[in-house]
Each structure stands twice: as structure tokens, then as C-alpha cells.
Symmetry: D2
Subunit: 368 residues, 4 copies
């Protein structure tokens, strides 16, 4: 394991700046694709597809079966967009072969990235437990929470000042006042702060107060926001969208990395399925899958993953057992008074018990 060295410096010549001009980037290499022809495709149709592939500067490899002809596209430095071939006569489908993310991939960066967080490194041997209330609600509430989670063993404090809420009539967060209270809590406890930015114009403000900027699930594909936090250089906690695939999560990380910001922590927080007994379905498979596909650290949010406090501790244990690098847990001193997410928030004493149980699991998998 080693600290990840970003392949690009940020600045006016950063790749994303060039991308805005719609120029092909030089990042991906050898983006191969397979074009499957319909079984009734004519020789003329096949020839036209080959001609188009070659006119794009790719080489072809033709495989003729009894029923189908299959055309392999041998890329060079540029990505291939299959849709420009799918619309041609005689084409049945295209199959991408290479992964669409590069900077986030383990192939490009085989060693685990270690992201500094205060004294520790997320992605290393030690489990990072981040905890705190869903929203900052008052000075008393956030300070009480901060001291409680620190005492239980958390390494950072979470708390929302800007809250994305599905209803315009719900509490929308305290705004900058909340950020100030978080800064006060940091000063009082020494815990670094994790808090969310919801729009590009909030990033500068949030970055003045936060150690880690959280991108929430609803904003995982808010590309303007991803670019802005990428430019900020601040550590980013990127949560998986509630119906985003693992691949889409890694492509959203790619946006941030492409801006030259290599400090990205991924977060599995449950996906939307047909099961309604829990608020979301924790995709525990995503933990080993992400560790295999990417060098970035991944943590689990068992609070959103389940939506009910009764299940948070069991799923937190499962996350660490599956290989997650940490947890982010909602803790509130008085859940019944919480202005948001009370049902999935742990009381401080239950959180302390969670930490104890998680530590035992961490040791069982050779971590601390």
C-alpha cells in the first residue's frame, strides 16, 4: 500500500478543462469493443461497419461464424462510443470490453490509495469510524454529539448543515450557521469534520469549514458539483446514488480524479430495491467488488443502508467483515427529537457498543 499520487496536476491545463472543449482525451488507451452483426446482415452492411470503424482510426478483427459475423474494434488512445455503430444497418448490438473508468481503476493504480484524515490514513489497516447526527440542529446538540462519538472512538464528526430533503416543507438545514457550529465542535474535540455540499456555489463555503466534503447520494451524478469539488482539492466522501451501479459510482469518482483531486473516499449507503421492510438495501457485495475494481478506499453507511436503528450494528459488523475501510454512522443524543433521520440514528451508548463490536470484527479480519 502507498499513498496515491495523482497523475495530473490541477490547473488550467487539467484534463477536464480540455474535455469541456469536446476534444478527445488521451487518457484511455486501447478501448476495445465488439460489434455483433445480425445473422441476416449482408456483406455490404458488414463492409460499411468495417469502413466506419476504420474511418474512426480503429483497427478491426473479423470473426465469421455460421450464424453471425462479429467485428472486434481495436482501439488506440480514444474511447469508443458504441451507439454510433448500433444505429447502422445490420448491427445487432455492441459490447464494450474495457472498463469506462481509468484513474479510479486498480489496473492503473494497483496499490491501495491511502487518504489522510487527521492523524490516520483511510484505506490503511485501521478502520475509520465517522459518526454524528444527520443534521446540525443546535450548538448544544452538535457539541454533545461530538463529545459522545469521540469518546466512543470515532475519528471524525459528521453533521449536515445543508440538507437535501425530498419535501420543500422539511427542515433544510441550518446553513452557514451550522458550519460554524461544526467548526466549534472540531475545536472543542479535535475531530475533523465531514459535511455535505449540495451545489457548486456551496463548495467554497463548505471547504472553509470542512475537512471532508460529502457528496450525497442524490448528487452522485451532479457533474457540475463533482467538477467543483474536484477543483477544490479537498478530500471528498462520495456516496453511491441510491440506484447507481458500482460502475457509475466509479465513473463519478473519475470526474473528481480527472480534476487532479486524488483524495476520494467511496461510500456504499444502500440501494433502492423492491424490498420495503428496510429503507434501502445495503449492497454488501459492493464492498469486495469495489476493493477489486478500484484502489480507492470504501466505507459503509449502515444507517442509510438499513434506515432503522435496530439493524445498524449488525450491518456495521457485516461491512467491516466484508472488507470495508470504515463506517459512517448516524448518532444523535436524543433520536426522538432529531429533525431528520431520527429513526435510523443510534443513541450514543448504542454507538459505543457498536464500536466495541466492530473492533472485534476488525481484529478477526486482521485490522484494528
Amino acid at each position: 500500500m502507498s499513498t496515491y499520487t495523482p497523475p495530473f496536476s490541477s490547473g488550467p491545463t487539467a484534463p477536464a478543462a480540455r474535455l469541456a472543449e469536446a476534444e478527445p482525451t488521451s487518457l484511455p488507451k486501447d478501448s476495445a469493443m465488439i460489434i455483433v452483426m445480425r445473422h441476416e446482415a449482408s456483406a455490404k452492411e458488414i463492409a460499411e461497419v468495417v469502413a466506419r470503424v476504420e474511418s474512426r482510426g480503429f483497427r478491426v478483427n473479423i470473426s465469421r461464424g455460421e450464424e453471425r459475423t462479429i467485428i472486434g474494434v481495436i482501439g488506440d488512445e480514444r474511447p469508443v462510443d458504441g451507439t454510433q455503430f448500433e444505429v447502422m444497418d445490420g448491427v445487432e448490438k455492441t459490447v464494450p470490453i474495457l472498463k469506462p473508468f481509468k484513474l479510479a481503476s486498480r489496473e492503473m493504480h494497483p496499490l491501495d490509495s491511502l487518504i489522510p484524515l487527521d492523524g490516520m490514513k483511510v484505506g490503511g489497516n485501521r478502520i475509520a469510524v465517522i459518526a454524528g447526527p444527520c443534521s446540525v440542529e443546535s450548538r448544544e446538540q452538535i457539541l454533545e454529539s461530538a463529545f459522545a462519538v469521540k469518546e466512543a472512538g470515532a475519528v471524525a464528526l459528521r453533521g449536515g448543515a445543508f440538507k437535501p430533503r425530498s419535501s420543500p416543507y422539511s427542515f433544510q438545514g441550518m446553513g452557514e450557521k451550522g458550519l460554524e457550529l461544526l467548526a466549534e465542535a472540531r475545536e472543542a474535540t479535535g475531530l475533523p469534520i465531514v459535511t455535505e455540499a449540495m451545489s457548486p456555489e456551496q463548495v467554497g463555503l463548505v471547504a472553509r469549514y470542512a475537512d471532508v466534503i460529502q457528496i450525497g447520494a442524490r448528487n452522485m451524478q451532479n457533474y457540475a458539483l463533482l467538477n467543483t469539488v474536484g477543483e477544490s482539492g479537498r478530500t471528498v466522501l462520495l456516496k453511491r446514488g441510491l440506484s447507481s451501479t458500482i460502475e457509475e459510482l466509479l465513473m463519478s469518482a473519475e470526474y473528481i480524479l480527472a480534476q487532479g483531486n486524488s483524495r476520494v473516499i467511496l461510500c456504499e449507503r444502500g440501494i433502492r430495491t423492491f424490498e420495503k421492510y428496510t429503507r434501502n438495501t445495503t449492497d454488501i457485495n459492493a464492498i469486495p467488488v469495489i476493493k477489486q475494481l478500484s484502489h480507492l478506499p470504501v466505507i459503509l453507511d449502515p444507517s442509510h443502508g438499513t434506515g432503522k436503528w435496530e439493524y445498524v450494528t449488525a450491518v456495521a459488523r457485516a461491512g467491516i467483515a466484508a472488507g470495508a475501510d470504515g463506517l459512517i454512522v448516524e448518532v444523535h443524543p436524543h433520536p426522538a427529537d432529531a429533525m431528520s433521520d431520527g429513526a435510523q440514528s443510534l443513541r450514543p451508548e448504542k454507538f459505543a457498543q457498536l464500536v466495541v463490536e466492530v473492533q472485534r470484527i476488525a481484529q478477526a479480519v486482521g485490522r484494528s
Copy 2:
């Protein structure tokens, strides 16, 4: 049917401004909820729940069965958040009774809203067909598209200048240059323009060129953006998120309406399911459901709903048959050269055929 009159004027005292201060709003009335106690709940636990309900200013209605006690919460002017009760001892679950959207609901506004679009009114008897390429790619391409869709019978031109793309290496749109070309196409053809804004800071720019600002599926819960287009007063085409429920779509519309902007057109564009033969699954049920729940017009996007041009016409017919007020269709003069979404774009001649077939369906359901 009547034109919808917004219940609030926009401006510094608009409701959303007040909401930002986290004050309870006076909009919803009588927000009832049911609290189901666990069968082993003690009399003391029941009494504590009742006390908390009453301390919040609500009345209670207690129903004691042999196995369970059920507590009805009779609201007054304020919304009730069930989670503050779910965390109490002895509570099994809470069940919301009232719908969480108000301004978007048909109960509040029984007649269909009619949204002016150039000469016509979306939501009225005439079907609104919006068409054009996914992205603006060049002056020639957008003008050719505009003349073609106008000739076929479209009432507005769509085309993206800012494109949300899952990969940072994909074409991100022409930006303001694209908006200028759209304006030129409007001048040449007379067609009003529908184009997307992706972030709050783009809204002002987009509003200078667009007749209708589109909020894309990925941004359906980008609340900062919703508030900004709400304040803009410009007509908004709000697309359903690819894993958003119908209720969430209506709550996102509520954000815009709460800013005093009543010109909202909803758009069903397919949801994400396990089925992989099509890019998305068109939720045709959503058409009659939305027409029942809301007074806002709803149109269908069969291009994204299917993701393959072969199925677009059949699903377009289905949408109108189900009661949609219009369609938004991707049309490209040369789909194989499209820089995005070529696979789901119709050639102009196929689009012209679509319009003919859709007109027949429109007549069959008593529309034009």
C-alpha cells in the same frame, strides 16, 4: 380545464425563502398519521407516545385492539414527521395518511393546468410533440433537425447545450455556443426551444435562450437547481429520476411550485429496473397515475424510455393512448454520427411516420 393560478407570488417573501429558515410552513393542513404500537407495548409506553403527540400540538384518537393499540394523530396546520415517534419505545411503525405534496395535487387544484407553449397550451386537447437531437453538435445539424421536426409536426425543438454524461471523457455539450445555435434555429423555424440547465448558475444563462428549461432525470432531486428554476418563472420540463417514485417526482414539482412558478410540465422517461434488454423501462402506468394525482400536464419520452430507436414509435403510441399530453422524442438527421444517444434517435423520416401514427391514436382518444 383552466389556466392554473399560482397561490403565491414570487419574490423575497416567497414560501421557500421562509422555509430556508426552517420555520414550519402553513401550507399543509391536517397532516394525519397513524402510530402502530407493538403488541407488547406497555400502558406507560402508550401514554408517553400520546403525551409526545399532544406536546406537539396534535390531537389523538386511540383504538385498542386485542393485540395492538393504534394511535391516530389528528393534525392541524403542520406536517408530521413520523420518525420522531418511530424511535420511541413500544412503537412498531408509523403510517402517513396524507400525501406529502400539496400544490402539485389535484385535490388542491381539481382542474387540469394548461401551460402555454408558444401558440398552444400543454395539457389541453392538442398533443404537444417536442423533438430534436440529444445534443446540439453544429449549426448545420441543429438547423437541419429543426426544419425536419417542424415539417413533421413538432411544436417545439429540443437540443442539449449542457449534457450530463456519466463519463468525464464523453462529449459534455457545446455550452453557450449551443444555446446561440438553438436561438438561431428558433428564429429560422419559429419553434420554441427546450433545453437543459444542469446547475443553479446555468439557469440565468439558459433562461436567456430557452422557452422551456429542462431539468434532467439525474437532477430531479437537485434541490438548489429546483429552487432556482422555480424563481426564474420560466416554464420547466421536469423529468422523472430514473429511480424516483411518482411521489418523489411530484414532491420535486412541489419545490418549483412553492417558489411561485406554476409552469411545470412533468415527463415520464423510463425507470431503472432489472430488465436489461431495453435501456430503461417505460413506466406507462405513471401516465394515468399522474393524471389522477396531479393537475400538471405529463408528457412521455419514448426515446429514453426504451433506449432503442426500433421501439420508440410503438411506445410513443402507447403513451398517447394512455393519456399523455405530449411526447419528447430524440430525432437526429444522421443518428450514426450523433455525439450522444444515437442509438435511440429517430431519422427524420421515421419521426414523420411517428407523428402520423400518434395523430391517429390521439384521435382515437378524442384529442388532436
Copy 3:
């Protein structure tokens, strides 16, 4: 269009009987597959994969890119199972190229199959509307239903005698008594009967009474049942499982066809998604997709597809507009008294209105 001629006669030498002996079948030809090697795969690993492919009797086509080697598998007469290669060292994934169904595919049988149903042919120009109650509940109820749906224009009577219910405490159907009542209703009205068989041992009994044996959504992958109705030779109405892909539906049809029974009618009846406002999500895309992939007729069940009677007519119209060959609709003379599915059952007068509206749509798409 032509009547489908089954490629196999039923009997002791039917293909499925041979399949039971686990012999490779001679049905599929040229089952190609692509094997994508990991970018770090060694020459030795590649050679081992090639050797294994060839040892299975397939030819290979090797395409070497800068980052990956891709191995094409050129099949002969046998299907290829990708998993036997996925477990080899150095293999990243396998991609099937050919469709896994043959007898159900349009490639094998380009013309639409026409399935006789009483006087008409399902899959032909005329729309087939099948209607009746969810369950047979009494002599009076089924006769009243039969006369009502016949008068409204239905061509067959549906009604369940054996009911799959998620709870063991729910009404499980009248059993053989229900079949007798259906036979009486047929005699009284002349309508052919569509009714469900739930297990192989029921097939003989049901076949004595039913013109069409329905395989319910929960049993779409009950292979023993599929084989038995395949052997029966009776027309089968095969409903899509609530979370089955279109491909799986066609593979289940393949089970029946492989027994030599070519009389299969497919039915889209809604799939399970995250949307909870409706009981299921009607997959309207499935209609044109199935018509493209298969020669078998497909009908729509808007009653299960929506789960609420208010939406049934709109979605029925959509189904015919999308190209469905018919409908199966739940109609009950007194829905509030229905022992099952009352909420999605239409009253006879609403069903009559549905038929009128559907006829207008049928004419708009050139059918009757």
C-alpha cells in the same frame, strides 16, 4: 403470417426427454461467445483458455489489443456455457453472443405464429380480449361474469379454479368444482375457457376442462410444470414472472416448444420495481421487444400490470397501441365482494367501455 408448424412431434422421443439424460441437444447451432482476458493475463493463461476451448470442440479467433486479449469462441452445434471459462485464471469475463432461445426466436421462424382460439387466431389481425373474474366463486358469479364479458365483446372467459396465494390463510380457489362451473359457463355462452394449472399433477385435470391452460407468473420457471403443459399439447398462456426478464420468458416458452407444443401465447403482466403506487409496473416496452424477438403472440394483462381498476382502461389502450395481440382483463360483477383481486377488477359496464375504447385504438393501428 402463417400458422406455426412445430419442428418436433411430441412423444417418447421428444427432445426434452432426451435432455433429461443430460445429452447435448442438437438444437442450437453456432453458439458463439467472447472470452475477455484480464489485462495482466499471461501468455500461458491465454494458451490454457484456448486449449480448453478447442478441447471442447470449438474453434477460436484471437484478437490481441494493447491492453487485452479477446478470444472468440466459434461454436458448432452445441451451446456454450461461459462459466466453465470464467473460472480459469486470467479470464475477466465471458460475453454470450447468441440468444439462448431458438424455437421461440423470430430468426428461426420469421413469420408471426397464429394460435387458434375458438373461431379466431391469436396473433392475427383481430385483437383477442379475454376477460372474467380472478377466481371462480360460485355458479351465479361465473355465469353472470361470462354473459357480461361475452356481451361486451370478449372472445374467451378467464377464471381461476386453483389460486396461488401468498398466504396460506387466503382463499385457495374452488378446485375441480370451479372447473365444472367454468365448463358450464362455456356451454351457456360458447366462450372458450382460460384457467390456471399450478402443478404438474393438476395439468391433466385442468386440460379436461380448459381450452387454454394458464401458467401464472409465480410458476413461469416451474420447469416440471412447463414440461407437463408442453406434453399436453393444449394451448398455453404463459405469463411473465414478476421479476423475470424478457429473455427468461422466452426461455420458459422454449421449454414448452421443445416438448413439441407450439401453441404458446405470451403475456406481459407487470414487473416488480421500486414504484409502490401501483401493484406492479407494466413493462410496455416488452410488447414491441417481444414482437421483434419472437414469432409468438403476446397479450397484455392491465389488471395485474396496474393493480388498481382506475388505471386498467388507460393501460389496456396503451397495450394495443404498442402492438399487443390481445388483452386479459379481470372483470367481476361485484368487485367489492370478490374473494381475490377485487381492487383491480372492473365492473362489467366499465369493461364494456374498455372494449369500445380499445377497438378505437385497434383501428388506429390498423387492426380490428
Copy 4:
């Protein structure tokens, strides 16, 4: 914890036999429901609903808000079906309050059920690891597998003799010959046998050879099969359907329990979601949820839950960390030669490592 005592003896008067006559059962008590009236419901409509409720023998509790009237239904001994009220004029929706399963519920049976399996008790302190190949393929293969998994620490041998396959052209299992080989493997190793029955008529045959009859995911709602294994009295391993809710799983267990067979082990094996990187999505939340809702033991199948052998061990650890009572794991001596599920099968040495890692987790959660 205690051994579960079935509340009913099996035999001609077993409850399910009575249910078949469609008589109301006396099992559930106090089945309450809430009926929410539309806000425009008239006094007459409300009165009619109340009259219908009372005519069914239930008591009512009426709660009148400013916008809505809500009618509570106080049950007696019988279940209430909401749909008979939902179709009445003025009714908006019905909300069930009581859970639809009884015998499977922890409320009825607060202590964990312990299911004997050879010398041990599933659901007790010791983790039960069941392992073996997907299919029995040959004498050599099953014996080699049996010795390998026994040596690694498995407590039972799994192996399919009848295989449900989505394609009729795939290997369908060895049938009775496979059962005989399993019996031979039991004799050689002492391991009890877990194997699947796919249809009611196979149950008798399978029960002659198997210690535990497996009901596969595709058959979770094959009610004829559930009733038959219920009558058999043999221990049943009931796998969750790939798109079944937890509640539906418990209701399928209820079918077996209602036949007087209390020996049911539940199995979470992954659900179908939009994520395609893994074959299924392991619903890890289901483990603590099922432990809370039911007294029945629950085990995890990480092989089907992930579909790729690389992730099996991580997810197995997660399952035990979350509180599962055991695991069922696919192990094959030569996965590349497996006739089914090779891609998700572990080699014996990897399985041995899995057992070691799982034991560490078991100890970390206080089990063995």
C-alpha cells in the same frame, strides 16, 4: 432458546386441510386494518363502508380529521382482506396493521427455534456450514467433494440431483441416480444431505434420500410444493425467491408450518436488482430483519448471493457478522469442469480458508 414445539399435529385435521375448504382459519387473531377515506368522501359513503365492515363482523373506530375520515377495523379471529373495501366509493386506500404471518412470527414464538441437523442444532450457538457442488455430476466428483468439505469443517453436504435451469438445453441434473450417489457420500463421510425437490411428485423420492429438502428460489411460491414438503415432516431449507420480499419468504414458511412441519431453515441467497456486476445482490439487511421478525433460523448463501467466487468469502464473513446461523456454499473440486455454477464455486482449498475466516468472525460475535 428452546426447541420449537409445533402448535399443530400433522394429519387429516391439520389446518391446511381445513384451509383448502376455504373456511376462515382460527389462527390469526385481531387482524386490524385502517381504511383511509378520500377527502371528498360523503357521509353516505362513509356510512356504507362502516356498514360493510360491521356486516363482516368487525368493530370500527372512526377518526374524523379536517381533511379525511379514517376508519379503524378491529378484528376478531379472522384475517381481513383490504381489497374488498378498496373498491368501495370514497375509499382512498387501506393499510394493513398486523403482519400476515403468524406461525413464523417471533411474536407467537419468542424463543429461537432450534432445528436438529445430525448432531447439531441449526439456530443455536454453533454456525452451520453446508457445502458441496451445485450439481451431482459423477460418483467421483460427489465423493471427492464430500470428503473435502467435511475435512474443511462442513456439517452437511449439498448437491443437486434435480436442477432448475432457465434453459431447456442446460444440464438438468442426474435425477434419482444423483440421489443414490448422495446417499453413498453420506455413508462414506457421515455428512447429512441437503438436496432440492422441484415438484410435489419428487418430494417422496427426495425424502427417501435427503436429510434436508431444499426448496429453491424459483419455487419459493410453488404452493403445491410447499404443502407437500410441509406434509413430509422432513426438515426444509427454504430459499428466498430472487425477487421476493422478506414478508413473502415468511409467508411461504407459513405454508410449511401450517402443515404441522416446524423444521424450517430460511436462506437468504441474494435478490435481483439493477446492479449487474454481481449475479445477485446479497440482502445482508435481511439477516437481522429475519432474526427480529421470526424465530426460525436463517442462513446465507454467498455463492448465489454474489455469483462470483472471488467475492464469496468476503460475503460469507459478512453474513456471520450480521448474525446468520450458518452458510450454504458451493464447492467443487474442479470448478472449470462444473456442469453448472462453476463461476461461483470455490475450490476445496479456498473453502477451507473460508471456514477458518468465518470461524474467527463467529468467535468475534460470540458464537462457534
